[in-house]
């Protein structure tokens, strides 16, 4: 049952050199991602997005990434040269960003962007790439792929833009998909459709998914396992179904602070942060 993990991370640290000093955004975290949906939750500044970007080494040059191990299967991501990283990005690990508006090329039709993503990693002609892109658009449940293929990003809605981005990220058939708040710029009803597509594709293709989100309820219901991050460290790792039975005071505090339709008229418990959570390591 236990297969070797796709991605293995040990003692990952990310430091930013800023004019006002060194900021350590990720402070020694360990985790593995297999063919599963692993969620990372945390508040802004907890280091969850930086972790996702560090895996792809998509951080500014002033950043120092260190780790005892940062590996995709047998490939050492930490010491891979730029040419190798270029082959990894998209082909083996791809990433979906929060807002399709800022992540798609505004002067290129969405269809060509998807076809380009395919041709980047596969030696095929234009016609084949176009056919694959149309199939992929159909896969992300776009009703009229031929029509959408020729649209520019500003002509599609937010939900459709996010589906286009998913299509573009999945067309090279990566082993691992990193999704950084893929639905938080979308309306609830649209985001449910997008999640269903992700869920379906992950299950069908046996991909690993690293799902980064601030939304505890969403992660608890969508993922298999959850890492809870705070201050650049992992507070605890839980099975997603057990998130509501979390024991760490930080996770408990976050859950209690969520308003629900049953909390009306009561004060919400406010999170008190304990410096001891961030034990030096």
């Amino acid at each position: 049952m236990v297969s070797p993990p796709l991605l293995s991370v040990r003692n990952l640290r990310v430091r930013f050199d800023t004019p006002t000093g060194v900021v350590e955004a990720v402070r020694g975290i360990d985790f593995d991602v297999g063919r599963e949906r692993l969620g990372i939750v945390g508040e802004s500044g907890s280091g969850k997005s930086v972790t996702g970007r560090a895996v792809l080494r998509l951080l500014p040059a002033s950043t120092t990434i260190t780790a005892d191990r940062l590996a995709l299967g047998d490939l050492d991501l930490l010491n891979a040269d730029t040419a190798t990283m270029r082959r990894v990005r998209g082909r083996r690990i791809s990433m979906i960003m929060q807002d399709p508006k800022f992540s798609l090329n505004p002067v290129m039709t969405v269809g060509r962007q998807i076809a380009e993503a395919y041709r980047m990693h596969h030696r095929v002609g234009r016609t084949v790439a176009k056919r694959r892109a149309l199939d992929m658009l159909a896969d992300v449940r776009i009703r009229d792929p031929k029509h959408v293929y020729d649209l520019y990003p500003h002509e599609v809605s937010g939900g459709m833009g996010q589906r286009v981005m998913i299509a573009m990220m999945l067309i090279p058939e990566p082993d691992l998909l990193i999704a950084d708040e893929p639905t938080s710029a979308l309306d609830v009803t649209v985001s449910i459709q997008v999640l269903a597509i992700l869920d379906d594709l992950v299950t069908r293709r046996g991909m690993g998914l690293l799902f980064i989100s601030h939304d505890l309820n969403l992660v608890a219901s969508f993922c298999d396992r959850v890492l809870v991050m705070y201050g650049g460290q992992i507070m605890e790792t839980l099975p997603a179904s057990g998130l509501h039975a979390a024991t760490h005071p930080y996770t408990r505090g976050l859950l209690a602070a969520l308003p629900t339709i049953d909390t009306a008229g009561r004060d919400l418990p406010v999170l008190t942060r304990d410096p001891a959570w961030l034990a030096a390591r």
């Binding site: 508040e43 802004s44 937010g158 309306d187 609830v188 009803t189 985001s191 449910i192 999640l195 269903a196 869920d199 601030h214 505890l216 309820n217 969403l218 608890a220 219901s221 969508f222 505090g253 976050l254 602070a257 969520l258 308003p259 629900t260 339709i261 049953d262 909390t263 009306a264 004060d267 919400l268 418990p269 406010v270 999170l271």
Partner: protein, 248 residues
């Protein structure tokens, strides 16, 4: 306290608000929920006087109001915006931000009013001479609330006041709003895409879709009986997280 009848707002060809009518009693907290583009924020901007192009009737405290508002209106109705990073002047200190409404309305005791409102929103005097960039998101939203409260309005319009904030900070701001509402006897209108936030703070709410109110209900009935309209049910479902299609 607030009554709106047959309100219509159009932008070029788009009808952003379509024949909306509702009333809010004094002391009520009324929620407007819906997705982006449903017209909820436009509705709030019409009420606050930021959008002057509308038809229909609006009455506040029994007095019909038109597109252009006078000073007395603004003493009675104030607004808090979504983004605490965008709604405060970056080069004005908290003190100057709070002093401006006092100067405009020619009120006395500026000193005491500022000190009091800062205490009321839980910031205290040490924040008085800071600039927005020296404050966290939650602290900025407290300043925005203080700016709205300094004229002692009876109606507060809140446009997604917590959606730019982390959950733990959101809880603090929601508690603060509930406390101020009780202490100052405020009537609130809260616009949000988050049904849970609306249900937490409001006693009545309207679900909007495509510029129209599709359903109006009390939070009590939201909690007990399932909402009637399929769209309201969908929103309620979404607050509970993701459901695999294969799930029963």
């Amino acid at each position: 306290m607030i009554s709106v009848h047959h309100l219509d707002v159009s932008f070029d060809k788009v009808r952003a608000v379509n024949d909306v009518s509702f009333t809010v009693a004094s002391g009520d907290t009324y929620g407007l929920v819906g997705e982006s583009g449903c017209g909820k924020s436009t509705l709030l901007r019409v009420l606050s006087g930021l959008n002057r192009d509308w038809t229909g009737t609006i009455e506040i405290a029994g007095r019909a109001i038109g597109p252009v508002r006078d000073k007395a209106f603004h003493r009675q109705v104030q607004m808090v915006f979504q983004d605490p990073f965008g709604s405060l002047h970056p080069r004005h200190t908290v003190d100057r931000t709070l002093a401006e409404p006092i100067a405009i309305h020619g009120l006395d005791n500026a000193e005491a009013r500022i000190a009091r409102v800062l205490d009321d929103v839980g910031l205290g005097p040490r924040f008085r001479f800071r600039y927005p960039h020296q404050l966290s998101g939650g602290q900025r939203q407290r300043v925005a609330i203080a700016r709205a409260l300094i004229l002692e309005p009876s109606i507060l319009l809140l446009d997604e006041p917590t959606s730019a904030l982390d959950v733990s900070i959101q809880a603090e701001v929601l508690n603060l709003l509930a406390r101020l509402r009780a202490a100052r006897d405020l009537t609130l209108i809260l616009v949000s895409h988050n049904l849970a936030v609306v249900a937490h703070l409001c006693n009545r709410l309207a679900v909007m879709q495509g510029g129209a109110i599709v359903e109006e209900m009390t939070v009590e009935s939201l909690r007990h009986g399932a909402p009637q309209h399929p769209y309201s049910r969908e929103l309620l479902q979404a607050t509970l997280g993701y459901h695999r299609p294969s799930d029963p």
